[in-house]
Subunit: 317 residues, 2 copies
């Protein structure tokens, strides 16, 4: 993590947002989005998903998008991988970090990646071994994602003990960090705080990130609860891309611009220039005129007399 | 406060919401809204404002609305008052609680009620004396409202010391409780937690309520921060009535239905039946078809397997 920031925000809109958008987002516009956010000071972007093109056509340009992303100075470039094949593609194009996903809920994992949680962990172990055996790949970070950690649309409540077990299995298998995800927007602040307090107590100093969806309006309250438990890394999507007001159970990520505003207002440096970040929304609005964009700070503007906690990377030049 | 609840939610949509709505909301529909929310278990409703009709025409039916509200079993009926004349009207119609307002910011107080903060406090002292001198009015609670406590559209940042001074002046003048308000949606969770921790330390056991607007998306995160500081009373507006997506600086209250969902999901009993509460939105939607209604839980529904913290007053019968 960049040492001059207090909280690391990670853009996931190009993956978690775009994967639910039917229209193909043109490659030059994806790259423009990444360039503009990197220039605004966003330290990490999940730029694509290495899934088969027949599963999600949005990511057929993954290699090209990664290549352009790696040109951005100071940007940590990550990509989602569902399996070993995706990992190999990720290693080959040279991303800095691979975000592997397993659902804590067995039913959800079966529906999502068609195997048991144990088989998912075994595949992660193979990926870690693959990395460790290849000198060129040894510096690639592996993040273990724990989906449906706060509840599942199929099973309902999820046992925190199952979350801990998967987290421990990931760490034993070689994970460098973990991402604990409220994939379907079920979490509440009490649950979030309890979960992260427990995980930090049991896991020690493994870096933990929070990934929240704003499906039920509690996204930023959940971030606050995680902050209280000491979490300092969060995923978000610019303009909340990926939600849909017309679908019951809309599952948009929390809004990146509102997250940055909240953190900076709280005195926590993100390294991001809020004005420049908000301006990047224009790229999405231009390419996806039919898609609903979310966010309060873009509409209301920061309060009179508002001062960010720290100057952005660019602004500090 | 009802003893079988953990957190008291207070509906302010009939006052804070309707005061920004141009169309007159028919009296029978106001009463239907109050009856339905009381039946859903909402323990307190601010049913009107005792302001001159020429200032806000929405409240010309205040006496009739209060009379009907007082018929609801177990409902605490409150009303906003800007001055002594409003207080007299409130005492005469028999409300249970009068919510007096003063802005912490001198400029805002001058713009809002055309006098200094000191003059506002002096008028509050007169109101308390009026109450204490009249045996019939002696049981009416007086709440001191601290508007713009977290920032002001005219002055920008507001000094927490000024908030404490107004709070202490209110208590010395006879306030039974205080309501600390983020009138213009400037607050952030760190500020909210610090403010309430300080106020509770300095004021002792004076009941404190939080009043938040969701202008910049931080409303429920601010509630969570206040909960962490021990606050157990919150204002909210059903469907967030009063905000406007077309006006920069929209200032809607936090959404009552989302607030109740958050609290119940956290295991905190509100006494409110969430399903019945959400159904009351229909009354607003019918009367104000052009008005934007807000709220995530009404659209997304509670999570699978969701159990409220406690049965509502009605459901417990």
């Amino acid at each position: 993590m960049t040492t001059d920031i207090d909280v690391k925000v990670r853009e996931v809109g190009l993956r978690d947002g775009l994967q639910s958008v039917q229209a193909f987002f043109p490659t030059p516009s994806k790259i423009a989005w990444i360039e503009a956010e990197a220039a605004a000071g966003v330290p990490e972007i999940e730029v694509c998903s290495f899934v088969p093109a027949k599963v999600i056509a949005q990511f057929t340009d993954a290699a090209e998008v990664v290549e352009a992303s790696l040109q951005q100075t100071g940007l940590e470039v990550s990509a989602l991988i569902p399996n070993k094949k995706g990992a190999e593609r990720g290693f080959e194009v040279g991303v800095h970090k691979l975000n592997y996903v397993t659902s804590v809920s067995e039913s959800h994992n079966m529906a999502n990646v068609r195997r048991t949680v144990a088989d998912s962990v075994a595949a992660f172990r193979d990926i870690a071994a693959l990395r460790d055996q290849n000198p060129e790949w040894r510096n690639v970070k592996l993040a273990g994602g724990l989906s449906t950690a706060f509840g599942c649309t199929i099973e309902g409540p999820v046992d925190p003990v199952a979350v801990l077990k998967l987290a421990q299995a990931y760490v034993e298998a070689g994970a460098d960090e973990l991402s604990v995800a409220d994939t379907v927007g079920y979490a509440n602040p009490a649950q979030v705080k309890d979960m992260f307090v427990m995980l930090k107590r049991e896991l020690g100093d493994v870096p933990l990130a929070g990934h929240f969806h704003d499906t039920r309006g509690l996204g930023l309250a959940n971030v606050h609860a995680a902050l209280e438990a000491g979490v300092r890394e969060f995923d978000a999507s610019l303009a909340g891309l990926g939600g849909c007001p017309f679908a019951p159970g809309a599952t948009g990520n929390i809004v990146m611009d509102d997250l940055v505003f909240m953190l900076e207002a709280m005195g926590m440096k993100t390294g991001v220039d809020l004005d420049r970040l908000v301006a990047v929304r224009d790229i999405i609005a231009r390419e996806l005129p039919e898609e609903p964009l979310y966010g309060a700070i873009a509409r209301a503007k920061p309060p009179k007399g508002f001062h960010p906690a720290g100057a952005g990377r660019q602004a500090a030049e």
